[in-house]
Each structure stands twice: as C-alpha cells, then as structure tokens.
Amino acid sequence: MVTDLTHAVAESPGAGPAGHQVSLRVYFVIFGALMALTALTVVAAMKDLGDFNTVVALAIACTKAVLVVLYFMHVRYSTKLTWAVVAGGFLWLILLLLMTLSDYITRGPGWLHYG
C-alpha cells in the first residue's frame, strides 16, 4: 500500500503535486496590467462619453476580473472541471442580472428615467 502511494505520487508530476507553477514574470505583467487598467478607468470616468461611460467602466472591470481569475487564481492552468464550475458561477450571475433587467426595462414608462 505504501509502495502504491509513493508510486502514484511519483507518477503525477505533470500538474505538480499541488498546483501549477507560474513564473514570476507572468505575475508582474498581470499586476502591471491591473494597475494600468485602474488608472484608465479613473481617466475614462472623467471624460464625457455619454451612455458609454458605464459600458467602458464595466468593460475595464470585467477585463481586470478575468485577468485575476485566469492568472492570480490559476484557473488558466486548472482542470476542465474547475473551468466548468467557475464558468457556471458567472453564468448564473449573468442570468440573475439579465433576467432582472429584462423585467424592469419592460415595465413601461414611469419605471425608468433614461437621462
């Protein structure tokens, strides 16, 4: 039994015994990108882009979140099962937001004041 376990551990060096080793350079590049995007979102908020202010702010926030999930949280190097769980989580969040949105924007005048 002991031999079996030792054998099994020795046979699975691919993913590493505990997680994928990412190079430090990747971490620093992602860190730089996150800081730059933070500065960009503040600059973009100061400009009048009409309806696109919110779109730009959300696009930048989503980009930052994806970078953190893929690289800092190592999902890029994870198994398909982890991918499915993560994608499923965000899918249900999007459903929650979209279905609520579709309710409120179809309630007719008086509910929303587009300005």
């Binding site: 039994m1 002991v2 376990l5 030792t6 099994a8 551990v9 046979e11 699975s12 691919g14 993913a15 590493g16 015994p17 505990a18 997680g19 080793q21 990412v22 430090l24 971490y27 620093f28 860190f31 996150l34 800081m35 933070t38 979102t41 503040v42 908020a45 100061m46 400009k47 882009l49 202010n53 919110t54 702010a57 959300l58 930048i60 926030a61 930052k64 979140a65 953190v68 999930v69 800092f72 949280m73 190592h74 994870s78 198994t79 099962l81 982890t82 769980v85 993560v86 989580g89 965000f90 249900w92 969040l93 929650l96 937001l97 609520t100 409120y104 509910w111 929303l112 004041h113 300005g115």
Partner: protein
Amino acid sequence: MAATHAHEPSALQHHFDNLGQQFEASSLGMWLFLVTEILFFGGLFTAYMVYRMTYPEAFAEASHHLNIVLGGTNTAVLICSSLTMVMAVYAAQQGDRHRQVLFLVLTMVLGMVFLGVKSVEYSHKFAEGLVPGPDFRFEGDAIHAQLFFSLYFVMTGLHALHMIIGIGIMAVLTVFAWRGRYTARYHTPVEISGLYWHFVDIVWIFLFPLLYLIDRHGAGG
C-alpha cells in the same frame, strides 16, 4: 490505514490517490464556495443595478460625495495585496519558508491599510451626515440618495467583513507557515486561501467604478 507516507506523514489523506488529486479536490471545493459568494454579492449588485437605472440622477449626485482619491488608493492597495498573495503561494511552491511568511505578513498589512482607509472614509460619511437614517442630510434628491448610501454601506461593509475574515485566515496561515507546515509538495491551504483573497479583490474591482465613478465628468472632478 496505519501506514504513513515516506516523507510527509500528514499531507496525504488516505482517501486520495495522490497529492495532485487531493489538491484538485480542495481547489474545486473552494471554487464551489466562491461560486456561492459570487451569487451572494450578485444579489446586491442586482439591487444596485435596478435602483441606479431607476434613479440615475440621484445616484450620480450621491456618488460625487465619495472620495475618488481614497477609493482609488484602496483599489491599488488591494491589487498590491493580490500580488503579495500570489508571491506567498509562489514562495510556498518553492519551499521558501521565510519569503512565504514575509509575503503573508505583507498581504495582511496591505489588507489592514485598506481597512484603515475605509474607516477614514466611513468617519467622513458620518461627519457629513451621509449615513442613511433620521440624521441623513443631503441637498437634492435625499430620499433616493439614501438608497445609494444604503447600498454603499451594505456592499462596502460586507466587503470589509470579507477582508477582516481574510486577514484572520492569513494570520493562521502565517503561524503555520512559520512553523514549517507548508512545503513545496504540500501547501494547499496557502493556495486556496489565496483564491478567497483574490475573490475579495475582484468584488472591490467592481465596487470601485460602480460606486465611486458614476458620471464623474459632470461633477467637475
């Protein structure tokens, strides 16, 4: 099973084939928890979305009472803490005990800086009468500005609570890391606590633009 592994007696639990499989199971379990957290905060983001669409002017006015410099600083502080967190995981993977402890402590310190700045912001809000309730003072659409500040306090408050829990987890990890419990082959707790820390960072990545940066161009800076 009385038999122990040749090198690490406690690392591999008997119901797993190997450390790789054990790590995948732990990581997946943490992600399942984080998915419930995504939807937990998701409810608040949904409420925010509905009320901001319904009262855009009041939300923009109220948003201009938040301090962009403090909010932006805190965003940078959290991103730095995410970097120190991955550095701690990296050090654990290298089996470098001292760097592991160093980066865990740095992560905790940055987390406390965030909470410190947040408490300064909260005290400003109390002083300015921007806390929802009988003492709420607001020139303009006060009723709906209160909605904004209710969401502001609940969302940032719950986020701060997650930060406090995160700092507690880091403190425990630091003690264990100091004692040499985590090695290059077994450091799953460091990795999955890192997942939690990064998740809390992601929540703030959305809170900052949504709460602080509404229609700022109209406010003249």
